[in-house]
Amino acid sequence: MVSPDFENSFQKKIDSEIKIEPKDWMPDAYRKTNIRQISQHAHSEVVGMLPEGNWIGRAPSLKRKAILLAKVQDEGGHGLYLYAAAETLGISRDEMINDLHTGKAKYSSIFNYPTLTWADIGAVGWLVDGAAIMNQVMLTRTSYGPYARGMVRICKEESFHQRQGFESLLVLSRGTKEQKEMCQDAINRWWWPALMMFGPHDNESQHSEQSMLWKIKRKSNDELRQNFVVMIAEQIKTLGMKLPDPDLKWNEERKHYDFGEINWEEFWQVVKGNGPCNKQRLEARRKAHDEGQWVRDAAMAYAKKESKKTPTN
């Protein structure tokens, strides 16, 4: 049994906006929640490289190839910041990677959808990264110090991802008839999965919101989703495209856009592993990891040999 004093002083720190640092006392559940959330976030960055990596060699110009390469490299870096933040809570990198590869740990379901055309890469940048940014900006103020610092770094880099995506769609939206159609088609396919990224409705939980109380999260799923809809519904006007939702309309009373219901059956199916690309994504990850084993072994063997050769002072 934990002394209530510890619990109380922990909550008092949170309430007065004092960050929690790795060696500070924290409730087990706080540690576990953070490990799960940060590692899933890290896995999302890493798996998120796969649908885009698919297009690096096929991007339509050298400029677009360089941009996409830089973006994918950022995502690898973001995964690393996040894994490092989770490691400060006492879980090892290997354990996290194993949890991803066995399917125990999840990553954002959005990456289980395929990137079928070049316009998908623009739509991913604008909609998927746009949705991720809503969450990430909030997380720069999360209560766990290493997570918050990682998010600050990530947010600085992430804005380029969304802007390049929008700009790429803008070019298509001003192009030929076929390019316009391709642009609209990508938006049609990515819109609903992007909305699902925010997770189930707030009222689906019968419990009080512990993550809010601990300030791991500061905004609810529905709140973030609503902000996202408003942002995108305005931005799409510049593209001259349409969002695939007949119920989407401005609500003067609420000063918000109303929008249609998400297909939650699809959401849970994809989470459970039955999305279009779940199998493919995990297999690509496992293959990369397993085939890289000899490189990791060789590097370590070399380092050991060298350290024997040249004694440190």
Binding site: E7, R36, D74, A84, R93, K104, R296
Partner: protein, 122 residues
Amino acid sequence: MNTTFIRKFFYGDIPDEKGGESSYEVKQDTTTWPLWEVFIRSKQGLDHKHAGSLHASDAKMAIENARDVYTRRMEGVSIWVVESKYIHATNPEEAGELFEPAEDKIYRHPTFYQLPDEVNKM
């Protein structure tokens, strides 16, 4: 306060039991690369500041990886790396006895001393 873990599905936080099945065999990495702490000097004349950490097999690789991860946008002109196990730190539990004694020694600050206006620029 109630310590039971209260479950709520947040974005980026999918609970374990909602996951699917897998037949992938857990592999134990035989060689885990050690952890390194990275310090970056953002420009000449400034201190190196802690930027983050990474895994690498040796110092050379740690510096190369730090360069790729932490200085892609001109964030640095110099990198230090040190294996994390060599960093010694104070304990949060000792923070009180270590740092609180400084709180009541206001005479260590220049503003403690009231001087006439004509010499107050001192």
